[in-house]
C-alpha cells in the first residue's frame, strides 16, 4: 500500500457572516484562543461546516480585524462557509447555546459575496482612562503628528498614529473618551491612543489601568461608523446591548 492522496472536500454552498461580542474575563483570550474555542463550538453545535481540502482539513472560517488581547468588543466579525444551506438565525441560536461565557453571536446574515474586510474599515472605541481627558484630547486633535512606541516581536517600534485617528472626543464625565480609528499605515489600537494622549498631555499616564471597548466596526460616513449588516440589525442589538454605536 502506498500513500493515498487527500480527500477533496466539496465547495461551500453558503456563507454566513456573524457579529459577536467578547466581554468580561473572556476579553483576555487571544484571537488564536477564540479561534480554537469557536471551532469547537461549531462542532458541539453540529453546524454543517465546509472544510478545506488537504491532508489536514480545517473548517472554513474567515476572521476579520481581531480586537487586541485584553480589549473587550461588541463588534467582532467573522464569516463561515457551509456545506449545507441553513437559516443564519438558527446558526446564531445553536452557537449561542454552546459558546464559552463572554462570547455571544449578536447577529447573523447571509453573505452577499462582497469582501467583509472592505466593509470594516473603521472602528469606534470607548476607552475608560480614569483621569480627566479633556485637555489631552484637545492637544491630540491639535497635533499634526503623534508618535508612540509599541513593543512588538521585533522590539520597540515607533508609530505615528495621528492620521489614523479620525475622531476623538472626551465623554461628558471626562474620565472616558470615544475614538474612531480608520485605515492608515498602521492599525491603531486603543493602547496606542492612550499612549498618544500621554505623549501630548502629562495628565495621562501610559500604560495606565485603562479599559477599552470596541463599540462598532464599519465604514465611516457622515460622522458614524456604519455596521456592514445594515441599520436595522445594528439598531436592534445596539438596543439589546444598551449601547449607542455612533459618536
Amino acid at each position: 500500500m502506498s500513500r493515498q492522496p487527500p480527500v477533496q472536500q466539496p465547495p461551500p454552498v453558503q456563507r454566513v457572516r456573524l457579529r459577536y461580542f467578547k466581554q468580561g474575563p473572556a476579553r483576555f483570550a487571544s484571537q488564536q484562543d477564540f479561534a480554537r474555542a469557536f471551532e469547537r463550538a461549531l462542532r458541539r453545535a453540529a453546524v454543517p461546516m465546509a472544510y478545506s481540502s488537504g491532508f489536514n482539513p480545517h473548517p472554513r472560517i474567515s476572521y476579520s480585524n481581531a480586537v487586541p488581547t485584553g480589549v473587550a468588543s461588541l463588534a467582532e466579525y467573522l464569516e463561515i462557509a457551509l456545506a449545507q444551506r441553513i437559516d443564519p438565525v438558527s446558526v446564531q441560536a445553536s452557537l449561542n447555546r454552546v459558546l464559552p461565557g463572554g462570547f455571544q453571536i449578536m447577529a447573523a446574515v447571509e453573505s452577499d459575496g462582497t469582501a467583509l474586510a472592505e466593509l470594516l474599515t473603521h472602528s469606534a472605541w470607548r476607552i475608560d482612562l480614569g483621569v480627566d481627558a479633556t485637555a489631552a484630547v484637545a492637544a491630540f486633535l491639535a497635533a499634526d503628528s503623534v508618535v508612540v512606541q509599541r513593543m512588538g516581536k521585533a522590539g520597540l517600534r515607533e508609530l505615528d498614529i495621528r492620521a489614523a485617528v479620525v475622531a476623538l472626543a472626551a465623554d461628558a464625565g471626562a474620565l472616558s473618551l470615544r475614538a474612531v480609528t480608520g485605515p492608515g499605515k498602521v492599525v491603531v489600537r486603543p493602547g496606542d491612543i492612550v499612549a498618544g494622549l500621554a505623549v501630548v498631555s502629562p495628565a495621562v499616564v501610559s500604560p495606565g489601568a485603562s479599559l477599552a471597548l470596541r463599540v462598532a466596526q464599519g465604514v465611516w460616513s457622515d460622522g458614524r461608523v456604519r455596521d456592514p449588516f445594515g441599520p436595522e440589525k445594528l439598531a436592534n442589538d445596539a438596543a439589546n446591548a444598551g449601547i449607542v454605536a455612533n459618536l
Partner: protein, 653 residues
C-alpha cells in the same frame, strides 16, 4: 466567607503573559455553591495551567468530586451531591506571582477565584519530582505554612496523590496526607471522613488526621518516625501513634467500565499541551520492563471494554467539540480488543475530521497495522518505537524482549507501507551499560535507514533517535541500582551524536535528540530521597527555584548549592548502589509487590534472566493480586461497535 478575588486580580492580568489561562469559566467548568458545600477541594497541579489542565487524573477527580456527570458512580453518596465541591488551581507564572505578592493577592481557585486557603482540602497531583518546588511556591502564595506541623484549623489539609507519591518522603514534611494509587474511590471516602469530622464540631486537626490514617486510606507522614544508622542509612520507619498501621497500602480501582470518567472534561480557552479527548483504555501494565515505575505501581491490568471506550469517545466528543481522540494506556497495543477498537472507531468517524491517536511504542508488525488503521486519510508521517536499549544484551537486562532483527523487520514493514519516518526511544545510563551499548544505537539507526531506503525505494526516509537519561525509581527492579552520573550520560550521548554526524552515508537522515544529564541527577535525588532531602527542596525554593521542569527556569547549580548548604550528598542518594538489607525510604508503603520477588528480578536482570507478561504467560508471583485482593481484568468482551447515526446516542451490540 471571603468573596472573589477577581476584581483585585483583573488589573494585574492586563500586565502579564497569556492572561486567559487564569480566568477560568471554561466550557464544562463547574461552579457549585461554595457556602452550601461541606467538603471543598482545591485540586492543585503544581505546574502551569497549560501543563496541568490536560492532566487526566485532575479531570477525573474534578468530575467525581463535583458529581457533575451522568456516568454511574459505584460508591454511594451520589444524589445528595451538594456537600462536595472541587475547584482547580495551578502554579502561577513568575510574572503574575510577583504582581500578586506586591498587591497582596493570594493564590486563588480558578472557578470562584476564592483564596485557596479557604478550602478544606488542597488536593495536590504530584506526577513528577521536578514539580516539588512548585508545591512550595504555591503553598507560599496561598499563605499556607510550608510545614504540615505548622498548620492550624484555618489551613486546608494538604493531601497528595499521583505517581510521584509512591515515594513521598522528600516532600513528606510539606504534606498532611498521601493517597497511594487510584484516586477515584479514595477521594470520595476521604471526603466522607472529613465531612463526618466537621459535623462533630471542633475535634481538631490531629484527630482528623488520625481518623484518616486509621482508615488505611491515606499515609500521614507525621505519624511515622524515621531513625537512621550511623552510616546515614535508614534504621527503621515506625508509627508514632497507637492504631496507625505500620504499612500503608495502595488503592486499586476495579471494574473500570463502571467508572467512565472523564465524561465532559473542561475545554480550555488557553492553549495547552494536549488538545484532545483522552480515554484510558486500560490501567496498569505487566510487561515487566525493569526500569518502568508506572508498570510496577499500577498493577494489575484492568481494561475497559470496547463498548465502554466507544461510548466514552462519542460522549466526550459531543461534550467538548474536540477533534482528536487519544486512546491512553501504558502500552495501548496490548489491549485484548485493540484491533476492534481502532478499526471500528476509524469506521465510525470516517469522513468526520475526527482523528484518533494511539500512544503505543511496541516494536512489532501488529503495531503498524493499528497505526495504518488510524491513518486511513493518508497521513503517514512518523511511527514511534521504544527499543529503550541499543543492544540485544542491554534489552535483556531491562526485560524489553525485542531483538535487533525484530526491530529491523518491523521498520521494513513500516517503510514498505508508506511510512517515511521512524522515531526510536532509548535510555542512557541503564544498569551494566557500557559506552559500546550506547554507540550501538548509531549502528542500529544506520541499519534502519539502509532498510528503509530499500523498502521504500526512496532516499526520503528519516530516523529520529530520542535519548533520555535513566533515573532509577522506587518500587522497581532497578530501585537498588546506582544511577549513572551526569558526566557519564553526557559523554556517551555526545559520542553517539558524533558517530551519527560523522557518517557520510546515513548521518544526514538521522536526528539525535537528547536531554542533558544534570536534571536527571536532581530527579534521581528526589525520586529515591528520604525525608532529609526536603531541606534541599526548601533551600532551592528559598533561593528562587521553581518551575524546575522548564529548561529556562532549571538551575543545576542552584540544586548543587542547596544540597551543599544543608549537608546533603547528592552522589550518596543517586549513584550509590543499595544492598538487599538496606531499609529503603518507601519500604513502609505497600503496593503489594513482593520485595523478595523484586530483588530476585534485580539479580536476574544482571544474569540475563527474563520475565514474561502474566497476562499471557501465567502468574510470575509479583505478589500484587494476592496481597491486595485484586485480579487482572481483561477481555476480550467479544462485543463490537455500530456506526453512529447523526444526533443519536452511541449504539452498540
Amino acid at each position: 466567607m471571603t468573596e472573589s478575588l477577581f476584581t483585585r486580580l483583573e488589573p494585574l492580568l492586563a500586565q502579564v503573559q497569556k492572561p486567559i489561562q487564569y480566568v477560568g469559566g471554561e466550557v464544562n467548568s463547574q461552579s457549585k455553591d461554595f457556602a452550601a458545600a461541606e467538603v471543598r477541594w482545591a485540586l492543585f497541579f503544581p505546574d502551569a495551567y497549560e501543563v496541568g489542565q490536560p492532566n487526566q487524573g485532575m479531570a477525573i477527580l474534578y468530575e467525581l468530586l463535583n458529581a457533575c456527570s451522568s456516568a454511574p458512580m459505584p460508591v454511594g453518596e451520589q444524589g445528595d451531591d451538594d456537600w462536595l465541591l472541587a475547584e482547580r488551581t495551578f502554579t502561577i507564572w513568575p510574572d503574575l506571582a510577583k504582581l500578586m505578592r506586591e498587591n497582596g493577592v493570594p493564590q486563588f481557585s480558578w472557578e470562584s477565584h476564592r483564596p485557596v486557603r479557604d478550602f478544606d482540602v488542597l488536593g495536590v497531583s504530584l506526577s513528577t519530582e521536578l514539580g516539588y518546588t512548585n508545591l512550595l511556591e504555591t503553598l507560599d502564595l496561598a499563605g499556607i505554612p510550608r510545614y504540615a506541623t505548622d498548620r492550624t484549623a484555618a489551613d486546608p489539609l494538604v493531601i497528595a496523590g499521583g505517581h510521584a507519591v509512591f515515594n513521598p518522603e522528600p516532600v513528606a514534611d510539606f504534606l498532611d496526607a498521601v493517597v497511594l494509587g487510584d484516586g477515584e474511590e479514595a477521594v470520595l471516602r476521604v471526603s466522607a471522613l472529613i465531612r463526618d469530622h466537621k459535623r462533630q464540631g471542633d475535634a481538631g486537626r490531629e484527630q482528623l488526621l488520625l481518623n484518616l490514617a486509621k482508615s488505611g486510606l491515606v499515609y500521614v507522614p507525621s505519624f511515622y518516625d524515621v531513625s537512621y544508622l550511623p552510616d546515614g542509612r535508614i534504621e527503621a520507619v515506625r508509627p508514632n501513634r497507637p492504631g496507625v498501621p505500620a504499612r500503608v497500602g495502595k488503592q486499586v480501582l476495579l471494574e473500570l467500565d463502571e467508572w467512565q470518567y472523564p465524561v465532559q472534561p473542561i475545554v480550555p480557552l488557553a492553549e495547552t499541551v494536549h488538545e484532545r479527548y483522552s480515554v484510558e483504555i486500560f490501567r496498569g501494565c505487566t510487561r515487566g520492563c525493569r526500569f518502568c515505575q508506572a508498570g510496577m505501581v499500577t498493577r494489575p491490568v484492568r481494561e475497559r471494554g470496547i463498548q465502554t471506550v466507544g461510548t466514552m469517545v462519542a460522549r466526550g466528543l459531543a461534550a467538548t467539540g474536540l477533534a482528536e481522540v487519544g486512546l491512553l494506556s501504558l502500552s495501548s497495543a496490548d489491549h485484548t480488543e485493540i484491533a476492534g477498537i481502532t478499526g471500528q472507531l476509524a469506521d465510525r468517524y470516517a469522513g468526520t475530521n475526527v482523528s484518533l491517536s494511539l500512544p503505543s511504542t511496541r516494536v512489532d508488525a501488529f503495531n503498524i497495522d493499528l497505526a495504518n488503521e488510524l491513518s486511513r486519510n493518508g497521513r503517514r508521517s512518523g511511527l514511534t518505537f521504544a527499543p529503550e536499549g541499543g543492544t540485544d544484551r542491554m534489552r535483556q537486562v531491562i526485560n524489553k524482549m525485542v531483538s535487533e532483527d525484530d526491530l529491523i523487520r518491523t521498520v521494513e514493514i513500516a517503510f514498505s507501507q508508506g511510512w517515511r519516518q521512524v522515531k526510536l526511544y532509548f535510555m542512557c545510563g541503564l544498569p551494566t551499560e557500557t559506552d559500546e551499548d550506547v554507540l550501538a544505537i548509531a549502528e542500529l539507526a544506520f541499519r534502519v535507514i539502509e532498510t528503509g531506503r530499500r523498502a521504500a525505494n526512496s532516499r526520503d526516509v528519516r530516523c529520529t533517535i530520542s535519548i533520555g537519561g535513566f533515573v532509577p525509581k522506587p518500587h522497581t527492579t532497578f530501585q537498588w541500582a546506582g544511577q549513572a552520573d551526569a558526566e557519564t550520560v553526557n559523554r556517551r550521548v555526545r559520542a553517539l551524536k558524533d558517530k551519527v554526524r560523522a557518517d557520510r552515508r546515513y548521518g544526514r537522515a538521522i536526528t539525535v535528540r537528547y536531554a542533558e544529564g544534570e536534571p536527571g541527577m536532581v530527579e534521581g535525588l528526589l525520586s529515591r530521597g528520604d525525608r532529609r532531602v526536603g531541606k534541599v527542596i526548601e533551600q532551592v525554593w528559598l533561593q528562587g527555584g521553581h518551575f524546575d521542569g522548564w529548561r529556562e527556569y532549571f538551575s543545576y547549580q542552584r540544586w548543587l548549592d542547596a544540597a551543599a548548604a544543608v549537608g546533603i550528598d547528592l552522589d550518596w542518594y543517586t549513584t550509590r548502589e543499595r544492598s538487599q538489607d538496606e531499609v529503603l525510604p518507601w519500604d513502609h508503603l505497600d503496593l503489594g509487590l513482593d520485595r523478595v520477588w523484586l530483588w530476585q528480578d534485580w539479580v536476574d536482570a544482571r544474569n540475563g534472566g527474563e520475565v514474561a507478561d502474566c497476562r499471557w504467560a501465567g502468574c510470575y508471583d509479583c505478589g500484587v493480586c494476592p496481597a491486595l485482593g485484586v485480579e487482572t481484568q481483561i477481555g476480550p468482551t467479544l462485543r463490537s461497535l455500530l456506526p453512529l447515526t447523526a444526533g443519536s446516542e452511541p449504539v452498540s451490540v
